[in-house]
C-alpha cells in the first residue's frame, strides 16, 4: 500500500521535473534515509550453490568467466556479501582469505583491483576500484556483526578508514567519491574530477560511517544523490557510466569513455532499491524505459538516446523486474525465477537482486 500511495504523490514532481530539474537537486522531495538490510539468510541454498560451484574456486577466488577468468576486488566484495546472504561462513572465510592475502596489499590499505591467474605477478593493476573496497568493507562489517567475528570487524574498520582517507574527493563545497585513489581527481586528468555513480553503494554508507566516523560519509552519500539527479535531468534521463564533474553545474560524459549508460550504471537502480531509496523520481522513468513494452535493459548512448546493445541475460532482466516489484508490486515473472548462472556479472546481479527481494519483497518472488 505504501508503494501505491507513493506512486500517486510522485505524479506532481513528475510533471514539474522538467522545470525544476536543478532545484530538485537542492531540495529533494523525498526522504534522505537509508533503510538497513539484514542480508543474512536471504538467499536460498540452491541458488547460492549454483553460483558458488560455478564461479568460486577452492582458494576463495571469484573468477569473472567473461573476462579471461580474472578476479577483481568488486567480485570478491560481491562474493562476500552473497556468502553472508547465504549464511555460508565457510565460503565467506575462503573468499576473505584470498582477498586478504592477494589483494589487500596496497600501501594505503585499499585493495588492488585486478588479479589475473595467467600473469606474473598476479596483480596486473595495483590501482584500487573504490566500489570493490566499499563492497568488501560493507560485507566484512555485516559479517563481523552477524557472526560475531572480530577479525572481520577489524578488517572492515581498517578498510573503511582507508576509503575515507584516500577516495573522498573535494571540490569547493562538495565531497564526492573518487573511483580510484589515483588518476581521477582534478589535475590527474584533463577533465578531472571524474566519478562513476555506480560506485556509490548507498546501503553501505551508514555502516561505514559507523566504522570511520571521522570521514564525511553522509556528505558523500548526499553528493551521489545530487549528482544522480543532475545527470538524469537531461532529455535522455540516463547518466553516463563515467562523468566529468569538472564543471559541477554542467557535468558531462568523461573523455575517453563511451558516453553510455552501460554495464556500470545499470547497477544504480539496484543500489538505490537495496538502500530503500525508492522515492527517487528517476526510478519511475527508468522503470518505464526498462519495461517489456519499451526498450528493456540496454546499453544506451546518453547523448543520442540510441540503444547500442540490448541485455537479455536473466541477471539484467531481473533488475527491471525488481524495479517493477518495488515500485508497483508487480511479481517477478516466472521465467526469471529459476536461476541459471552463465556469466559472472549478470549472475551476481541476479543474486544481489534476489537476496534483496527475498528480504524486502518476498511477495514478489
Amino acid at each position: 500500500m505504501r508503494i501505491f500511495a507513493k506512486r500517486r504523490s510522485a505524479l506532481l514532481p513528475c510533471l514539474l521535473a522538467g522545470l525544476l530539474a536543478l532545484a530538485s537537486s537542492v531540495s529533494p522531495s523525498w526522504s534522505l534515509t537509508v533503510q538497513t538490510l539484514n542480508v543474512v539468510g536471504t538467499l536460498s541454498p540452491a541458488e547460492w550453490d549454483a553460483y558458488r560451484t560455478r564461479f568460486i574456486e577452492d582458494d576463495g577466488r571469484i573468477a569473472d568467466n567473461a573476462n579471461g577468468n580474472i578476479s577483481h576486488s568488486e567480485g570478491q566484495g560481491y562474493g562476500l556479501l552473497l556468502a553472508l546472504a547465504a549464511n555460508d561462513r565457510v565460503t565467506f572465510e575462503k573468499i576473505w582469505t584470498f582477498t586478504f592475502t592477494e589483494l589487500l596489499i596496497r600501501d594505503d590499505g585499499l585493495a588492488a583491483w585486478k588479479w589475473d591467474p595467467s600473469a606474473k605477478p598476479r596483480v596486473t593493476d595495483r590501482n584500487n576500484a573504490t566500489d570493490g573496497d566499499i563492497l568488501l568493507a560493507y560485507a566484512l562489517a555485516k559479517a563481523g556483526a552477524a557472526w560475531k567475528e572480530p577479525r572481520y570487524a577489524a578488517a572492515a574498520q581498517k578498510l573503511a578508514k582507508a576509503i575515507g582517507k584516500n577516495t573522498f574527493g573535494r571540490d569547493g563545497g562538495s565531497v564526492f567519491l573518487l573511483p580510484g585513489a589515483e588518476g581521477f581527481n582534478e589535475g590527474e586528468r584533463p577533465d578531472g574530477p571524474v566519478v562513476n555513480l555506480s560506485y556509490w553503494i548507498f546501503e553501505a554508507f551508514p555502516v561505514l560511517a559507523g566504522l570511520a566516523p571521522e570521514y564525511e560519509w553522509n556528505r558523500v552519500w548526499r553528493e551521489g544523490v545530487n549528482l544522480l539527479q543532475q545527470t538524469t535531468s537531461g532529455r535522455i534521463r540516463l547518466p553516463a557510466d563515467w562523468i566529468s564533474i569538472q564543471r559541477r553545474m554542467q557535468t558531462k560524459p568523461a573523455d575517453g569513455f563511451p558516453p553510455e549508460f552501460g554495464y556500470n550504471s545499470l547497477r544504480i537502480p539496484l543500489y538505490l532499491l537495496r538502500a530503500g531509496m525508492t522515492d527517487l523520481e528517476w526510478l519511475r522513468a527508468l522503470k518505464q524505459r526498462w519495461s517489456a513494452e519499451n526498450e528493456g535493459v540496454a546499453v544506451v548512448n546518453v547523448v543520442t538516446g540510441q540503444v547500442r546493445e540490448r541485455l537479455n541475460d536473466q541477471g539484467y532482466a531481473i533488475l527491471a523486474a525488481g524495479l517493477a516489484c518495488a515500485l508497483d508490486g508487480t511479481p517477478v515473472p516466472a521465467a526469471l525465477k529459476a536461476f541459471e548462472p552463465q556469466l559472472y556479472y549478470p549472475s551476481t546481479l541476479y543474486l544481489m537482486t534476489k537476496s534483496w527481494l527475498g528480504e524486502k519483497y518476498p511477495q514478489c518472488v
Binding site: 576463495g60 596489499i105 600501501d107
Partner: protein, 703 residues
C-alpha cells in the same frame, strides 16, 4: 612508517643477536651486546640449521602415523636441504593422544598449501562447535603463511610500506628459512630510501645464514640496490673456510667492471691497472659483449681510438648491437678514416638515434674535407636523402661546401639556403650562400644575404666591401695546399675605427704579427692539416692532431672562439708536444678576442718553449696594459708595461701608451720623457701630440 621501520630494525637486530648468541654459546662466548631478547617465539634451532616448521611433522608423529611422518620428512628435506629431522619424534608417538580427525585434515590441507580451505574448515568446525579451538601451532602456521604471501605479493607490486608493516607484525618471518622474505624486506628498505637498513638486513643474512648460493645471491641483490662502496663493505663476510666456502669473486669483478665503466665515459677519470686487467679477463672469459664495450669506450675516451676500434669490432662480433656500432663508427672517425666510417655507419643509421647521429656526423666530416675528396656519386647521393629527412643543418652546410668546392655553385647555393632554413643563425651557411650567389652573379640574392648578415658577420660585410671575392676564391678553391700565408683578408680589411693614440689598432697589429711569426715557424702542421674549417664542426671526438689543425684553420678564418675550443680538444687528448702547440694556439685565440686573462690561463695549460713563452707573455702583458689603459686604470697599465719591458724591448706604440698613462696620472715629467724618446725613434707626429698635451697641462694659463 618511521615507526614501522624502526620496529623492524629492532626485529632484525634482535634476530641478529639471537643468532650471534646461538653461534657463540657452544664456545661460551660473550653475551650479546645488548640485553634485547629475541622477539622470535619459535624455538631456536641449533647451529645454523634453518628454522623449519615442524608442527605438522610433530603432529603426525604424535598420531603414530609413520607413513605421513615419512612423507612429511621427505617434503621438508626437499624444501630445506640442510635440515635434519628431530630425534625426539619416536617419543612423541609413545603417548596416546585422542585423535581428532578434523585436526588431521587441517594439517593435511595446510601441508598442501590450501590455506583458504584450512581457514574455511576451521570456520566450519567452529560454526557447529563454538567452543572448539584449532591447535595453537596451526593458527601460528596459518598466520605466518598468510603473512609471507601478503609480503611477497606486496613486494611484487612495489607496495613497500605494506612489505615493511607485514614484516614488522610478523618478525618470525625474518629468519634464514625465509631468505626470500629477507631479500624482499631489504629491497623495501632500499625503495623507501633507507639504504642503511637494507645493508643491516644483508649483514644479518651474511652473518647468520649458511647456504652459499643464497649468500652469493644476497650480494648480487646488494649490487642492484646499494651503492658500490656498501657492497664492497659486505665482501668482508665472505667465508673462506668451512665445508662450503663462499666465492665472491664475481662480485669483485662486477665492482671492478663498474669502476672502469664509470671512467669509460669520462676522460678525466682513469681506472686502475688492476681493474682494467679484471675487465680484460672478463672479456676473455665470456662471450658477452658487455665487458668488451666497457673496455672499448674506455679506450675511446682515453686517447686510444685504434684499440677502441678493435674492441668495438669484437663487441660487434658478439652481437653488441647499436652501441657497439656507434663506437666503431666513432673510432673510425677519430682515426680520420672517414670513408670507411661512412660506409659502416650508413648500414646502422636506422637502428637508433645515436647511430643516426654518428652517421650524419661522419658524412658531414667526409664532405667537409678540404681539399674536397673524390667521392663516388653513389656516396654523395645516399648522404643527401638522409640529411634531408633528418633536417640536419650541418649536413646541408657540408653539402654546400662540397658543391662549392667542386664548382657546382647553384647546388651549393641551394644547400646553403636549405641549411639556413633549418638553422636560421648558421653564419657559415650564410657566408657560403653569399659566396655562391657572388659566383653565380646573382646580385639580388647576394645583396639580400649581405643586408641580412652585414651586422652579424664581418666576413660577409667584407665580401660586400668588394675586395674579397678573389681572396674568398683562394680560400676555398681546391688544389692549393700552401695557400695564403699572408694575413687573411679579414685582418687587412677590417674596418676598425682608428684614432690616433687609441690602443685598438695596435693590438690588432701585434696579434697578427705574432701569428705571422708562428705561421712561418710551424707551417708544417698547419699546411698539412686539413683546412676544412669553413663550416661549423664540433671538435669533440676529433683526434688531437686533427683538432689542432682545425684550430689553426679557424684562427686563419678569424673565428677565434671556435678555434679555442678546437685547441681545447687537442689539449685534452694530445701528446705533450701537441698540448704545447694547442695551448699556444688557444692563447692566441683569446688574445685575438681581447680576453687577456683567459689567454694567460691558456698559456699556462702546457709548458711552452722559451721564445714562445716570451712571445705569449709579451702579447698578454701588452694587451693587459691596453685593457687597463682603456678602462682608465693607468697605474696598472704602467705596471703591465714595465713587466713587459723586462722581457722584450718596448715598441713605439706601447711607449706612447706609457706616455699617455703618465700624462693621465699627472706625471708630466715622466710623460714628457717618454714622448721625447718616441720622437727620437721617428714617430714625431704622435709624439708631438703628446708633448703638446703635456705643455698645455702644465701651463693651462697660456691657452
Amino acid at each position: 612508517m618511521r615507526l614501522a621501520s624502526s620496529a623492524i630494525t629492532i626485529a632484525v637486530l634482535g634476530l641478529g643477536f639471537a643468532a650471534i648468541a646461538q653461534q657463540d654459546s657452544p664456545a661460551g662466548g660473550q653475551p650479546p651486546a645488548s640485553p634485547s631478547p629475541t622477539p622470535n617465539a619459535a624455538p631456536a634451532p641449533s647451529g645454523n640449521q634453518p628454522q623449519v616448521d615442524e608442527s605438522a611433522l610433530r603432529y603426525f608423529a604424535s598420531q603414530g602415523d609413520t607413513r605421513r611422518v615419512n612423507a612429511e620428512i621427505a617434503r621438508l628435506r626437499a624444501l630445506y636441504p640442510n635440515w635434519t629431522p628431530p630425534s625426539d619424534l619416536s617419543q612423541l608417538s609413545a603417548g596416546t593422544v585422542t585423535i581428532d580427525p578434523i585436526v588431521e585434515r587441517l594439517w593435511n590441507l595446510y601441508k598442501e598449501d590450501r590455506i583458504a580451505e584450512v581457514r574455511a574448515a576451521i570456520a566450519e568446525r567452529q560454526s557447529s562447535d563454538p567452543n572448539w579451538k584449532p591447535p595453537e601451532e596451526l593458527v601460528t602456521a596459518l598466520d605466518t603463511v598468510e603473512a609471507r604471501r601478503r609480503l611477497t605479493n606486496a613486494s611484487d607490486s612495489g607496495q613497500w610500506r605494506t612489505v615493511l608493516s607485514v614484516a614488522t607484525e610478523n618478525p618470525n618471518l625474518l629468519t634464514c628459512v625465509n631468505v626470500d622474505v629477507l631479500w624482499r624486506v631489504a629491497e623495501a628498505f632500499a625503495k623507501t630510501e633507507q639504504p642503511n637498513r637494507t645493508r643491516d638486513v644483508y649483514t644479518y643474512l651474511l652473518t647468520n645464514c649458511a647456504n652459499p648460493g643464497e649468500r652469493l645471491a644476497t650480494l648480487q641483490k646488494a649490487l642492484s640496490l646499494l651503492p658500490d662502496n656498501q657492497v664492497a663493505d659486505l665482501l668482508q663476510f665472505e667465508r673462506k673456510t668451512g665445508d662450503e666456502p663462499d666465492n665472491f669473486d664475481s662480485i669483485r669483478e662486477e665492482l671492478a667492471r663498474r669502476r672502469v665503466e664509470r671512467a669509460a665515459n669520462d676522460d678525466k677519470m682513469t681506472a686502475s691497472a688492476e681493474d682494467l686487467a679484471t675487465v680484460e679477463r672478463l672479456t676473455r672469459n665470456s662471450d658477452e659483449p658487455g665487458p668488451v664495450l666497457v673496455l672499448a669506450w674506455y679506450n675511446y675516451h682515453h686517447g686510444n681510438p685504434a684499440r677502441a676500434l678493435e674492441l668495438f669490432k669484437t663487441a660487434l662480433d658478439r652481437n653488441g648491437g647499436n652501441k657497439a656500432a656507434e663506437g666503431y663508427a666513432m673510432s673510425l672517425r677519430a682515426l680520420e678514416r672517414l670513408a670507411e666510417a661512412e660506409v659502416f655507419a650508413y648500414d646502422w643509421r636506422d637502428k637508433a638515434p645515436e647511430n643516426m647521429k654518428i652517421y650524419l656526423d661522419v658524412a658531414t666530416a667526409l664532405l667537409a674535407q678540404d681539399p674536397p675528396p673524390r667521392l663516388e656519386t653513389r656516396i654523395v647521393s645516399r648522404i643527401v636523402p638522409v640529411v634531408t629527412s633528418q633536417r640536419f643543418p650541418d649536413g646541408a652546410q657540408a653539402l654546400g661546401w662540397f658543391s662549392y668546392n667542386t664548382s657546382q655553385f647553384q647546388t651549393a647555393r641551394d644547400w646553403f639556403r636549405q641549411a639556413l632554413s633549418w638553422r636560421a643563425d648558421d653564419e657559415p651557411s650564410a657566408y657560403g650562400l653569399a659566396l655562391s650567389t657572388q659566383r653565380l652573379n646573382d646580385r639580388a640574392a647576394f645583396n639580400a644575404i649581405v643586408a641580412q648578415w652585414r651586422d652579424r658577420s664581418e666576413r660577409i660585410a667584407d665580401l660586400a666591401a668588394g675586395t674579397t671575392p678573389r681572396a674568398a676564391q683562394q680560400r676555398v678553391a681546391p688544389p692549393q695546399p700552401m695557400a695564403p700565408l699572408e694575413p687573411g683578408p679579414q685582418e687587412s680589411m677590417r674596418s676598425v675605427p682608428v684614432r690616433a693614440g687609441t690602443p685598438r689598432a695596435f693590438v690588432e697589429h701585434t696579434t697578427t704579427a705574432v701569428e705571422q711569426g708562428f705561421t712561418t715557424a710551424t707551417a708544417g702542421p698547419r699546411a698539412s692539416g686539413s683546412r676544412n674549417c669553413l663550416m661549423t664542426r664540433n671538435p669533440d671526438g676529433l683526434a688531437p692532431n686533427a683538432a689542432l689543425a682545425l684550430g689553426w684553420c679557424l684562427m686563419e678564418a678569424n673565428r677565434p672562439m671556435e678555434a679555442a675550443s678546437a685547441f681545447d680538444q687537442a689539449i685534452r687528448r694530445g701528446s705533450a708536444r701537441t698540448r704545447e702547440e694547442a695551448a699556444y694556439g688557444k692563447s692566441l685565440a683569446y688574445l685575438r678576442k681581447n680576453l687577456t686573462s683567459e689567454a694567460a690561463v691558456a698559456a699556462a695549460q702546457a709548458p711552452q718553449t722559451g721564445p714562445r713563452r716570451v712571445e705569449l707573455s709579451a702579447s698578454i702583458l701588452g694587451q693587459r696594459a691596453l685593457a687597463a689603459y682603456r678602462d682608465g686604470r693607468y697605474v696598472e697599465a704602467i705596471l703591465a708595461l714595465s713587466e713587459r719591458a723586462r722581457i722584450v724591448p718596448e715598441q713605439t706604440d706601447l711607449m706612447l701608451i706609457r706616455g699617455w698613462s703618465y700624462f693621465k696620472l699627472g706625471r708630466y715629467n715622466d710623460a714628457e720623457k717618454v714622448f721625447r724618446a718616441v720622437q727620437r725613434t721617428g714617430y714625431s707626429d704622435e709624439a708631438s701630440v703628446g708633448l703638446n698635451a703635456v705643455l698645455e697641462a702644465r701651463y693651462p694659463v697660456r691657452q
